[in-house]
């Protein structure tokens, strides 16, 4: 099989060389001069560029319309709606620029194709033109920068952090765990050396604020409530990516990162909006983290507030009796250290 393949490749190359030789000889015999050949090439390639534009751009528009419904549905978070609006504004500016510049590029390619009886226009500097295309992009970009940064400052506003319901996302190869802060809205401190089979998040037993913390294997959020994700990793860098909520933040070992947002659409409602009974929100790992990176995910649900309360009631606490027993029997007393360094937000 391999031998055959090799032979086929070698034979193919020999044939190509043969064809090239013959083509070259034929070209020489046909008496077509280089100049004629070049003239033809200029003509056909300039037409090629024109067609590339005339067919290519409508085709791009067609694809865009066709694939639009495959994009993410309407943003399911408060800031997400603004992000989408900003995205639309950007797209309008970008598409207009794309159409103008592409049109000029390919139209000029066609219009000014070589003609041996013509000379090009000796034109190499024009202060006014250059000023225009320095200043106009500057103004447009200033607009985009300002609108973008205003939104960014809103999303990352530190003052909002304490208001949100604290939910820890704890990442490891290759799954996430979720911890709810409970009634006191305080997450008990955790430290990687506390990690054991019964205490996978390394929560500190001695910290009283950990007593009402609850742990879950799915991320469930009440609709319309501010959520403060407190994100940690215990091995490599992961990324908490919630595309439907336009939310993403890396999980970095050795530090705590945060992301603040407010879900606005319940899963049930989203099923209606998308017309898809099977629709589910999802949280993905979006930073290469190892062999099973592509399978690292967690189901996400957004419930009405009372539904959420009922659900949380049933979830188990971080410390069950057996895990406490295990912690007691372990001889290594670990100092209470908050290893986390608050960085972004």
């Amino acid at each position: 099989m391999n031998l055959l393949l090799t032979l086929a490749v070698v034979f193919g190359i020999l044939v190509l060389i043969r064809i090239a030789n013959v083509a070259q000889m034929a070209a020489e015999l046909s008496g077509e001069t280089d100049e004629e050949e070049e003239e033809k090439a200029n003509k056909w390639n300039s037409i090629g560029f024109l067609l590339f534009m005339l067919l290519g751009i409508p085709f791009m528009i067609y694809c865009t319309i066709k694939w639009m419904p495959l994009m993410l549905p309407v943003a399911a978070s408060e800031h997400g709606v603004d992000v989408d609006k900003l995205m639309d504004i950007n797209w309008i500016v970008l598409i207009i620029t794309f159409l103008i510049t592409s049109f000029l590029l390919f139209w000029f390619a066609y219009k000014y194709r070589y003609n041996k009886n013509r000379r090009s226009y000796y034109f190499h500097d024009n202060m006014k033109l250059e000023l225009i295309w320095t200043v106009v992009p500057t103004i447009v970009l200033a607009g985009l920068i300002v609108t973008g940064l205003l939104e960014w400052n809103k999303i990352t506003d530190m003052n909002l952090s304490d208001k949100g319901m604290k939910v820890q996302i704890y990442a490891k190869q290759f799954n996430f765990a979720v911890r709810y802060a409970g009634k006191d809205n305080k997450l008990g401190s955790s430290f990687f050396r506390n990690i054991s089979d019964t205490n996978p998040l390394g929560v500190d037993v001695a910290d009283s604020s950990a007593a009402d913390d609850k742990i879950s294997s799915e991320l469930v959020m009440p609709v319309g409530e501010e959520i403060e994700l407190v994100i940690n990793s215990r091995d490599v860098i992961h990324s908490v990516y919630l595309p439907h909520f336009r939310a993403q933040m890396n999980a970095v070992p050795g530090m705590t990162t945060r992301f603040h947002f407010k879900p606005t659409i319940t899963t049930a409602k989203m099923k209606e909006i998308t017309g898809n009974d099977k629709f589910e929100y999802v949280m993905l790992c979006n930073k290469i983290c190892g062999v099973a990176h592509y399978n690292m995910k967690m189901p996400v649900r957004v419930l009405e507030k009372d539904e959420f309360k009922a659900w949380l009631q049933k979830e188990k606490r971080v410390f069950t009796r057996e895990s406490l027993n295990a912690a007691d029997s372990s001889t290594t007393a670990v100092p209470v250290v908050d290893s986390t360094v608050v960085s972004a937000k």
């Binding site: 391999n2 190509l16 090239a20 083509a23 070259q24 070049e38 090439a41 560029f49 290519g56 694939w67 994009m71 993410l72 992000v83 950007n90 970008l94 620029t97 794309f98 510049t101 590029l105 000029f108 000014y112 070589y114 000379r119 090009s120 226009y121 000796y122 034109f123 190499h124 500097d125 250059e130 970009l141 920068i145 973008g148 940064l149 990352t156 490891k172 990687f192 215990r234 091995d235 490599v236 860098i237 990324s239 990516y241 336009r246 993403q248 890396n250 970095v252 050795g254 990162t257 589910e280 993905l284 979006n286 930073k287 290469i288 190892g290 062999v291 990176h293 592509y294 960085s343 972004a344």
Partner: protein, 613 residues
């Protein structure tokens, strides 16, 4: 040894020096294969060494991308031939998920560093700097040869990592620790990663040796009359690129060294608070984010190290083939300088959501979007150069046009990624992959193709086949848009990059068809590259003989004889009298006036401005 010869050559008079000199060289060089092809210090031969090595590496990296594209389009199909090619990594025709990551990693590393940095700068800076500034060779031929051999050894080390038991580096081309630091986290972070780091250290050494040489040559070895403002834009681009490389590569070396310490000597520069394989590790106090800062401090200038030479080549090719001076010569230089400066203060836009302080993010948004201004100036200048030109569509010109097109398309989506707010949701998705493959990958490789087609006669004294060139171009540009345009939609749909398969996600099933389209387009453009390879190697031996100045260009390299001499010009080095873009000057006899023609010989076309010189 050979350098001495040039010194001998310099004083020769044209009258009796010509023949004797050529003969002397032929005799000297043909007798010793190793001196001519291996341990050469001739910049022209070194540039060919870089080019051919890069072509092989490019095919290797392209082959890798074909394998993972097959996997992404048909995740459930078995391809029995995979086992023939990659052995146990493709057992029963199924690509191993770990090896998938290794392929992605090596594809990126090879393309970015070995093809678009080493291959592009190495080939064209070496070929064109001495020839276009009017020098006999690089400032140091020996360092230049060393630069190639470091490069060559680093490619060998990188390729060797494909053959080791634990597999090559697989933490992505950005090799973020802790993943890249801990063999427990992924098999590729064992010996494979060590080889990756060794290879990169060698590569950086090569790049620095080359860069210092390019800068020195441009500054010190310009011929008489060649002011900085008479340099072709190619040289300006290579010059600025080399400075970028010299300033930023050492930072990557620092990052690589610290990572080597963390991996092998138990330090904790990048590692802290890690619990893996059922046990806590002793690392304390390091920061994985620090590595990202160091990496991207090189990584972002690297984008321009890749792109600027391509833009420089395109400027020259567009001007020559539009038979018209490049529009805004000084603005072009200015915008390259601004881009180069800004490239050092934008690295944080790769890190908006790593947990970096959001205020710092705001600063990087500002600086990043500023890059769009000089880029826009460049695009408009290219377009204005075409306006009322007299455009000849040589294969080189086709690729230069393609470069402008992809530079526009890919550059625009950069505005979305540079905006931290919008980056939140598209960060690390296929949107990013689409963006940088168009703006950096395709533009740079188009620039490289333009360069190869344009300067092939200068390299080998023969022409490449035009028709094959056109076929290559059209298939490639259709393939490029066919691959990367649909990819934007995957990204906007929230599909993360570096996923072995998305079959586990209900929401992503709608993208199956798009993935198949992408793979088919990739295969088409991949096959098109064989047309290029065939044309290239065939033309080296059998191409039509070239005349001295086949494109009727103004720059100095076309005043040197077709036959290569070590020393470039027999007799004296030509003197330069004018800028390189006198195409289509009103009143002139021909539509081009080479740089070597003094104003005193062209009274019919001189303008009042010219008299000031």
């Amino acid at each position: 040894m050979e350098v001495n010869q040039h010194n001998e050559v310099t004083p020769h008079n044209d009258d009796h020096g010509h023949h004797g000199h050529d003969h002397h060289h032929e005799h000297e060089e043909s007798n010793n294969f190793f001196a001519k092809y291996v341990f050469t210090t001739d910049h022209k031969m070194i540039s060919k060494q870089f080019l051919i090595t890069a072509i092989f590496m490019a095919f290797l990296a392209m082959g890798m991308s074909m394998i993972f594209r097959l996997q992404l389009a048909w995740p459930d199909v078995k391809f029995p031939f995979l086992e023939d090619i990659i052995g146990r990594w493709g057992k029963d025709g199924k690509l191993d998920p770990g090896f998938y990551l290794a392929l992605v990693t090596l594809h990126g590393t090879i393309m970015v560093f070995f093809v678009l940095t080493g291959g592009l700068s190495g080939t064209f800076s070496n070929l064109l700097i001495p020839l276009q500034v009017g020098a006999r060779d690089m400032a140091s031929g020996f360092l230049n040869a060393l630069s190639f051999w470091f490069f060559f050894v680093s490619t060998i080390v990188m390729c060797a990592s494909l053959f080791i038991e634990s597999g090559p580096a697989s933490a992505g081309w950005t090799v973020y620790p802790p993943l890249s630091a801990l063999p427990q986290a992924i098999a590729g972070s064992g010996l494979g990663m060590t080889l990756w780091l060794i290879s990169m250290a060698l590569f950086i050494a090569s790049s620095l040796l080359g860069g210092i040489n390019y800068v020195t040559t441009v500054l010190n070895l310009r011929t008489k009359g060649m002011n900085m403002t008479k340099l072709p834009l190619t040289i300006w681009a290579f010059f600025i690129t080399a400075i970028l490389g010299v300033l930023s590569f050492p930072v990557l070396l620092a990052a690589a060294l610290l990572l080597i310490f963390d991996r092998s000597f138990g330090t904790s520069f990048f590692l802290s608070d890690i619990f893996i394989d059922g046990a806590p590790l002793d690392y304390a106090g390091g920061s994985p984010i620090l590595f990202q800062h160091l990496f991207w401090f090189l990584g972002h200038p690297e984008v321009y190290i890749v792109l600027l030479p391509a833009l420089g080549l395109a400027s020259e090719v567009i001007s020559v083939n539009a038979r018209k001076p490049i529009f805004g010569y000084k603005a072009m230089i200015g915008s390259m300088l601004v881009i180069a400066f800004l490239s050092f203060v934008v690295w944080g836009h790769h890190m908006f959501i790593t947990g970096m302080n959001p205020f710092l993010g705001s600063v990087f948004v500002f600086t990043t979007l500023l890059v769009a201004i000089p880029s826009a100036v460049k695009v408009f200048n290219y377009i204005t150069t075409l306006w009322r030109g007299n455009i000849q569509f040589t294969p080189a010109m086709m690729f230069a046009m393609g470069l402008v097109s992809t530079f526009i398309t890919g550059g625009l989506t950069g505005i979305i990624l540079g905006d931290s707010t919008l980056d939140i949701n598209v960060h690390d998705t296929y949107f990013v992959v689409a963006h940088f493959h168009i703006v950096m990958g395709s533009s740079a490789i188009f620039g490289m193709f333009a360069g190869v087609y344009h300067w092939f006669p200068r390299m080998y004294g023969r022409m490449m086949n035009r028709k094959l060139g056109y076929a290559h171009f059209w298939l490639t540009i259709l393939g490029v848009y066919g691959v990367f345009f649909p990819m934007h939609f995957l990204g906007l749909g929230g599909v993360p990059r570096r996923y072995y398969a998305t079959t586990g996600y209900e929401a992503f099933n709608v993208f199956v068809d798009i993935n198949i389209i992408i793979t088919i387009a990739a295969i088409i453009s991949g096959l098109a590259q064989f047309i290029f390879a065939f044309n290239f190697f065939y033309s080296i031996f059998k191409g039509k003989k070239s005349v001295q100045n086949p494109w009727k260009a103004n720059t100095l390299e076309w005043t040197a004889p077709v036959e290569h001499l070590h020393g470039n010009w027999p007799g004296e080095i030509p003197t330069v009298h004018r800028w390189p873009y006198d195409y289509g000057k009103p009143g002139a006899k021909e539509d081009f006036i080479p740089q070597t023609v003094p104003y005193s010989e062209t009274p019919e076309s001189n303008t009042p401005d010219d008299l000031k010189h």
